[in-house]
């Protein structure tokens, strides 16, 4: 079939671009090797949490300084108004998840390790974990639930640098009945949805909470009914309750994925997973069709525009081989931020700023990947998300912010370019 736009990648950037295009009437196809980081990362939209070692209180106020010190940063191609529009768009398209927050101030939410992490938009099931409010917190875990240690969280929260005093303690509950051995987040979420584990949790907490303690529980309150379960917990326990992100799988991220893909299906967008893009048919600096491996052969998908949202090194959008060569894996695009093969590739400390950490494709104002001279490689190819050069998302706490902002902006650029001929005629 031929499409207006083929989006390569099914992470947050790809889903955002695809839905933004589809709801403006485009026929869109998503092809992806697999599912993206929605299922791994906490579902908070972190726009900017740190500039250097400085924790950011207001992303809006700190973005100019970031762009001054990192002139190649992806936010450079997104105006303040567009960033706000993108966040508002995301919030309204995840209405059932009740995202709260604004570009003007970051919340400080505890992570699975108890680090106070600055986040811009957060699902309301998490928002009452805002440590800036101060007070008393109790972190609840379930025995057998993997990789979630409430005492570690509580200890680290006690140590965190916070604007107001906070106390925190841990509480470990017996696992819910009927299930022995390891408990995974996915299974727990399913049981919250179908077995009313919320009632079990209320019972299990009875008599164990001090007055005024806010309760942090692992973010497994369900895939479909989490918001209702959270409200039920708050009203029954008569206190603030909040979800704490877990290690993967990220149940709140899966809620976002399910929400966006349901809307994509409703507007007729096709999604092909497990499909690798193996090439493109090009002519005169345009991509005419994307070639996708299928069965023993390939399928050609002709398209007017293409969005590359294949992710960075972690997702396989970029590849570093054993000879030290780095390449963009889908269209073999020129990269910036890449060291020569003879240079040091890794610094010994994992958390150092690694030489390749800001590597990726550079783009023009329409988010089109450019070559060394600054010219677009293909007139109808746009890029979004972690494939973009110039950011160090894990240090800046900017990953999902970049994905939503650039996915949205790439879609806007495509819509603007497809109406451009009409505008020229008018002129």
């Amino acid at each position: 079939m031929s499409y207006d736009t083929v989006v390569v990648g099914a992470g947050l950037a790809g889903l955002t671009a695809a839905l933004r295009l589809a709801e403006q009437g485009q026929r869109v196809l998503i092809v992806a090797r697999g599912v993206g980081a929605t299922h791994l990362a906490p579902a908070t939209v972190d726009v900017l949490g740190y500039t250097g070692d400085q924790r950011v209180e207001s992303p809006a106020a700190s973005l100019p300084a970031l762009l001054a010190s990192s002139p190649d940063h992806p936010y450079r191609v997104v105006s303040d108004a567009q960033l706000r529009a993108a966040l508002e768009w995301f919030r309204s398209h995840c209405a059932g998840l009740g995202y709260e927050g604004s570009l003007d101030e970051n919340l400080l939410l505890p992570t699975a390790l108890g680090v106070a992490k600055p986040s811009t938009l957060v699902p309301r099931t998490m928002s009452h974990g805002d440590l800036r409010a101060g007070g008393r917190f109790v972190f609840v875990g379930f025995q057998g639930f993997k990789d979630f240690y409430p005492s570690l969280i509580a200890d680290n929260v006690m140590r965190a640098r916070l604007p107001v005093p906070v106390t925190a303690r841990a509480l470990e509950l017996e696992p819910p009945a009927g299930r022995t051995g390891d408990l995974g987040g996915r299974v727990l979420a399913e049981r919250f949805d179908t077995h009313q584990l919320g009632d079990w949790l209320v019972e299990a907490l009875r008599g164990k909470l001090d007055p005024d303690e806010c309760v942090g529980v692992p973010a497994v309150l369900g895939l479909r009914n989490a918001d209702a379960t959270w409200q039920h917990l708050e009203s029954t326990l008569e206190r603030r309750v909040f979800e704490v992100p877990t290690l993967p799988p990220s149940i709140p991220g899966m809620r976002v994925f399910n929400e966006l893909t349901a809307q994509l299906r409703a507007v007729g967008t096709r999604i092909v997973l497990g499909a690798r893009v193996v090439g493109a048919r090009t002519s005169a600096r345009r991509i005419d069709a994307v070639e996708v491996a299928s069965g023993a052969g390939t399928t050609l998908y002709p398209a007017q525009s293409v969005v590359l949202a294949s992710g960075g090194l972690a997702s396989g959008g970029l590849e570093l081989d054993s000879y030290g060569a780095t390449r963009e894996t889908v269209f073999d695009l020129p990269l910036t931020g890449v060291q020569g093969a003879d240079r040091v590739r890794f610094l010994p400390n994992y958390f150092d700023t690694q030489p390749l950490s800001a590597a990726g494709v550079s783009v023009d104002a329409s988010l089109r990947p450019v070559d060394a001279k600054g010219d677009p490689v293909y007139a109808n190819l746009h890029a979004a998300g972690a494939i973009l050069a110039g950011a160090i998302p894990w240090q800046e706490k900017s990953g999902n912010g970049i994905s939503v902002a650039t996915g949205y902006a790439a879609a806007q650029a495509i819509c603007a370019s497809s109406t451009a001929p009409v505008a020229e005629q008018v002129r």
């Binding site: 090797r33 697999g34 995974g184 996915r186 690798r276 996708v292 491996a293 299928s294 069965g295 997702s315």
Partner: protein, 406 residues
């Protein structure tokens, strides 16, 4: 060369995306999940069998491989591990039996009324459950008196000089749903093709999923030998069974390790039926003289169909039919996974896996559902209490080819 599959485990970054999608691990603690059983346990298997028998609880739906962002061939690794496990333990009679649909067909078809009575008789089914281990409530199709092969030999093509297409109908069509085969032929002929129906037997897929690789290889090689001359002659091969089509396209090579020029030619020439028709449409060669079909039909793309990497061509085809409202379902799996749901120890798991799908179908209020795979259709028909049809049946009706059937 096989070891491109096994070596893919080194790409695993333990991200757990496969675990979050695995429909089986969500409903039973007996299966610890594709990551544990696949790329992790595989490191301990070496040349010997699996140290852990839980791999047998993998249904083989293949969703893990589809969602893996790192190209780890999780389902394929697990399929091989299961075969090694059974190689050592010896394959039970039941698994040998249900893995040979064409043998069962040859036994049952000549005595179809008696066999059908037995298949649907509660006392007989209880006896079969206690002696062989096929669950008494598992969905069973009915034998057709006359097989599709027999029917097709009496059929003459309306246009003998038309371009030819080769039809791989599979066992389900031959023994249980010959009417579906006739509809496939009618739709292809309506679009100006001459349909060649070569002699054919089972593709070996059920043997593969029940762990008998040597027998599976024999079956698939025999089938490939029948199809290869047509493939070498440049003719397209069209399959309406998505799982059997996938066997030809890639599993015989990737899982069974069959590696020869005949298979490669057949793999390259094989198309899923809906994929083939949609390609015709893209070239402007599909007839679109569809009548109005004012129906609401939920559509489930089976897991094995998703393994083709072609999206959901049925949706685009059915969108061509005036007034036909197709509801794309979003449950991953119906649970039956070929023969998995027939087994007495797995039946309950299979039904729990399919629960979302069944309730989503019921929620549409339609008494008709569409799905490309035969065993999935039988499962859906029974569990959701609807008539389940291949999408081609809707096209057939919309073309007006089935007018005399109402």
């Amino acid at each position: 060369m096989n070891d491109l599959i096994r070596d893919s485990l080194d790409h695993c970054v333990k991200c757990t995306i496969c675990e979050s999608f695995c429909p089986v691990a969500q409903v039973t603690p007996l299966f610890p999940g594709p990551k544990y059983v696949g790329p992790q346990a595989e490191r301990y298997r070496g040349v010997g069998p699996s140290a852990d028998a839980s791999v047998d609880y993998c249904s083989g739906c293949g969703i893990c491989t589809q969602v893996c962002p790192q190209d780890v061939k999780i389902a394929e690794i697990n399929s091989r591990a299961r075969a090694k496990l059974w190689e050592k333990k010896g394959i039970p009679l039941r698994n040998q039996l249900i893995a040979r649909p064409s043998v069962i067909g040859r036994l049952g078809a000549p005595v179809a009324p008696l066999a059908n009575w037995a298949l649907h008789n509660r006392s007989v089914r209880r006896l079969v459950q206690s002696t062989i281990g096929i669950h008494r409530a598992a969905p069973m199709p009915s034998f057709a008196g006359k097989t599709f092969q027999t029917r097709s030999r009496k059929h003459t093509s309306p246009s003998p000089d038309a371009p030819a297409v080769v039809y791989f109908h599979g066992c389900g069509t031959n023994w249980y749903e010959p009417r579906l085969g006739e509809m496939v032929v009618a739709v292809l002929e309506h679009n100006g093709f001459r349909v060649i129906v070569p002699k054919q037997d089972c593709c070996g897929l059920p043997l593969q999923s029940n762990g008998n690789f040597p027998a599976a290889r024999k079956y698939v090689q025999r089938l490939v030998a029948n199809l290869a001359p047509h493939a070498h002659a440049g003719l397209p091969i069209v399959a309406n069974s998505t799982s059997c089509g996938l066997m030809l396209k890639r599993e015989a090579h990737e899982i069974l390790g069959v590696d020869n020029e005949d298979l490669a030619a057949v793999s390259r020439s094989t198309y899923d039926l809906c994929e083939f028709l949609l390609r015709l449409h893209e070239r402007g060669e599909l007839r679109t003289d569809f009548r109005s079909l004012p129906l609401t039909v939920p559509y489930h793309a089976p897991c094995q169909q998703q393994g083709h990497g072609i999206g959901k061509p049925a949706l685009d085809l059915l969108a061509l039919v005036p007034d036909l409202h197709v509801v794309e379902l979003n449950a991953d799996c119906c649970g039956v996974a070929g023969t998995y749901g027939l087994k007495k120890e797995k039946y309950a798991i299979s039904m729990a896996v399919g629960e979302r799908l069944f309730s989503d179908i019921k929620a549409t209020g339609s008494n008709l559902a569409a799905c490309d795979s035969e065993t999935c259709r039988w499962q859906i028909a029974q569990a959701a209490d609807v008539t389940a049809v291949h999408p081609i049946e809707l096209l057939y009706r919309a073309y007006g080819l089935g007018a005399h059937h109402g």
